[in-house]
Each structure stands twice: as C-alpha cells, then as structure tokens.
C-alpha cells in the first residue's frame, strides 16, 4: 500500500512555543489513522499542516505525493475536512451550505445537487434540508460537517475530534457514519481525546504528548506491548485487586503518568 501522507521531522512553532516537536509518521491508503492525545498535545496543529492552512516551520510533509506548503490548492482539492470547531454558515440553510461549498471546488451545479441529495441521505438530514443552521442540534451540525467534507469526493478525510462535546447517542451516530465510510475504503485521519473512539475506529494510532509522538502502533498491539497481556491488575477503592482488560488509557497513563482527559 502506498502512503497518502508522509511527514518527517515536522516542526511547528508559535512565537517560540513549539506546538509540534519534530514528528514523523506515515499514513497508508485505505487505513484509519488516529492521533490520540490530551488537550494541547498538538493534534489540531498537525492536522492543520496536513490540510495546508498552517505552514510548517521545518521538516518534510507530503500529501498525495504533493508538497504541503507549495501545492496547497491541489492538496486541498483532494481533502475533506471535518474541523474541531463548528464553522457552518449560519446565514444559510443546510442545503445552501452544501451547494455553496461544492461551488468552492468548482463542482458543476447539477452534479453537486445530485451528490448533495445522496449525502443528506447518508447523514440522515434530508428532512432538515431547508432549515437554517441555527435550527439544528449540535449532533446534526456535526453530521452536516461530515456531509460537507464529502462533497468533493475526497481521497482523504480529516476529522478533528468529531465527537468532542456530544452526548453518547449523538456520538454513536457519528461513529456509525465514520465506520460506514471506513467500510467503503475511505482513508481517514482522526484526532481524539477518547481512547474508546480510537479503539473503535482506528487501524493505526500515534499517541501524542506535548508536541511529540510517544508511541505508534495498532491499538491492541500497543496495549500488548506495554502490558505483555491484554489484562491488567488494578486495585479498587477498598484495595481489592482484580483483573480487567487494559485500555489505551492505561497505556497513556503508564507512558506519561497522566490521564488522557484532564
């Protein structure tokens, strides 16, 4: 399998503060690649360099064989981005949001219209087509952002914490949609603070902490490597010892001495 994103010694600084500190990774076509880490680890900063809205300070970054920072327009044409912050166009309706967005990719109207109807079906928002964005729930807005990211039939989907701040039910709806995309063979990059999300969706993950990648591997492989087995012994409040399956959270705790979600 060929790689769609390849980063080598990637560095990003903000006024002397190093947000991404020399990371290297490779994302293969067809896989779901996760960046797992607590708030401030540098996940969004990394993602923003991949989709060419933030220039790197040093290192190499190639996306679909193109040079990030040079071929920005061509790279952005190939990507679908689901940003961490909601940024739908509140002045417009659900449908208008998608039609205008398709226009930014030079997609002709008739073709856009057809795709949009399919996508609205896919994210179960057809009934809300003519509603203004202000009339949608947060979960619906997140789903609309997924549809919007798919409008240009991207080679790579980038989802930045797609379920942060959602209630469990809305979260499961998003997971369902992302799993469905995965089944269709879509390449995905996902960032998350939830180990459950990473375990559910990702084939390969990197654990990020303070701008560095501290481990990389498949989720179960990481657990096995750190704990030898998939069961660990823990003590409850009454000092009774019992065994339970280890999680990525345990891996993270062991590596950094800190919890993922603080």
């Amino acid at each position: 399998m060929s790689s769609i994103v390849a980063a080598k010694d990637l560095v990003k600084k903000f006024n002397g503060f190093t947000a991404v500190d020399g990371i290297s990774f490779e994302i293969k076509e067809g896989e779901c690649f996760g960046f797992l880490g607590p708030n401030g680890a540098g996940k969004t900063t990394t993602i923003r360099m991949i989709h060419c809205v933030s220039p790197k300070n040093s290192g190499e970054l190639r996306v679909a064989g193109l040079d990030a920072g040079v071929d920005n327009r061509d790279i952005k044409r190939l990507l679908g981005v689901i940003p961490q912050e909601l940024n739908l166009d509140e002045d417009l309706t659900t449908y208008e949001n998608l039609v205008l967005y398709a226009g930014f990719f030079d997609i002709p109207r008739p073709e856009a219209r057809e795709r949009i109807m399919e996508l609205l079906e896919f994210v179960e928002l057809k009934a809300k087509m003519k509603n203004r964005i202000t009339q949608l729930s947060t979960g619906m807005k997140r789903r609309l952002q997924i549809a919007r990211a798919l409008v240009n039939q991207p080679k790579l989907i980038i989802a930045d914490e797609p379920t942060t701040g959602l209630d469990p039910q809305a979260r499961h709806l998003i997971w369902q949609r992302l799993r469905e995309l995965k089944k269709r063979g879509t390449t995905m990059v996902l960032t998350t603070q939830y180990m459950e999300e990473a375990e559910q969706l990702c084939d390969e993950i990197v654990i990020m902490h303070q701008g560095k990648i501290i481990r990389q591997g498949a989720p179960d492989q990481l657990i096995r490597e750190e704990f030898g087995a998939e069961m660990i012994e823990v003590k409850d409040a009454k000092e009774r010892v019992f065994r339970r399956p280890a999680t990525l959270e345990d891996v993270f705790l062991k590596l950094t001495g800190r919890h993922l979600i603080e």
Binding site: V53, N87, Y101, G103
Partner: protein, 255 residues
Amino acid sequence: MNLSYRFYYVWRRNLAAYKRFVIPTLLISLGEPFFYLIAMGIGLGAYMGLFGGQSYIHFLASGLIVASAMLTSTFECLYDSYVRMVLEKIWDALIATPLLAEDIIAGDIVWGMFRGVISGFLMYLVAALLGVLPVSPSIVLTLFVLMVLIGILFGSLAMIVTSFAPSFDFFNYYTELVVSPIFFFSGVFFPLDKMPEWIKFIANLFPLTHAVVIARATFDNQLNSGHWLNLLAIVAPMAVAFYLALFFMKRRLIK
C-alpha cells in the same frame, strides 16, 4: 500573491447570505439619501445662493453619491468582514477548500465595493427622482467605474484596519480620525476653493476629493483630459491599498 478567479465564489457566498436582508437594507439605504438630500440640500440650500450657477442640492448630491460608496464599502470591510472572520468563522471553512487566503480577502473587498456601488446608485436614484441630477448612459457608466474604484480603495483600506483589529472598538479610531475628516473635507458639502491653503493641501491628499471632482464634472458635462490626473489620484492609492490589504490580512489568517 496568489489571487485566482475564486474570489468570485466569496462574493457569491456573501450575496447568498445577504439575500435575506435585501428588503430591510434597501429600505434603510433609500431612506438615508432621502434624509440627506431633503435636510441638507433643500433645508440648507434655501439659505444659500447658487453654486457654480446651480442649486446647493445639485452640488451636494453629486458629491454624496461617491461619499456614500466610500462609507458603505468602509463599514462593510470593517464590521461585516470582522464578523465573518472572527465571530462566524466563515473564513475558516472557506480556507479548507481550494480557496487561498488571497481569494477570500479579495472576495470580501469586492463584496464591500459592490455594496458601496449599490448605495451610491441608490443615492443617485433618489436625486434623479427628485429631479436634481440628470440621467444618461454615459453618466451612469462613468459613475459606475468611479464607484468601483472608490469601493475597492476604501474596502481595502478598511480591510487593512480590520487585519490589525483586536475587537470592534478598534474601528472607532479609523472611522473618527480618518474617515470622518475625509467625508467632511473632500468638497462634498462645500467647495474647497475658499479654504485656507493648508486645508486645500490636505484635502488634495484625500482620494475622495478627486472622486468628487470627477463626479461633478460628469454631471456638468465638463470632463476633460485634466481629470486623468484626478483618476490617477484614486487608482494609485487603490492599487497600493489592495496589495497591502492582502498582505496584512493574510498575515493575520495564516499562522
């Protein structure tokens, strides 16, 4: 600089968002010129003699048309662009598509210019309906070109200010210290020729002064080759301001 035809998409996006507000804003935009022309033109005009052989309202209306284009494009690229950029995060979504920062900034400036041209023409419409100003295709065309240039110039200047603005309050410095003097001392309300030399000197640095001169000459059918110099006094700062607007706003957007 990396500007492409895609700036048009940003203009189109703003138009789509604006549709909902067309009726209320048109009413407001029609009411304002009416108020100005009646109150100042007719009210003040009653106490004044003739201005170059014509009534005060005739003198005033031709200047107000271009001044109105200036004010509208200024406010659009201050407050409205700031809202789109900072509060509504519209630009964050745009920049994740094949649009680059330059396309977005230019698209917003062109939108500000567009709003300015419309408000200038509304002023013209009211003045024409009041029988104050003549109408002809060549006048309309000249005014259009003039207001496009003024709109891009003042949209760009406003965009430069917005690129440094930490909040809304910041805009007051610019509107009170720069835009207001230009509005009052560009010969819109009174002729400059009886002013002290130093005021004349400063007024001649204001691009609006030159636009007002061209607008008056257009209505009085007195355009001549000397007006190319007036045009240059608008186009040259426009080109510089447009370039700087892209430069400074890009610096704010791309981090």
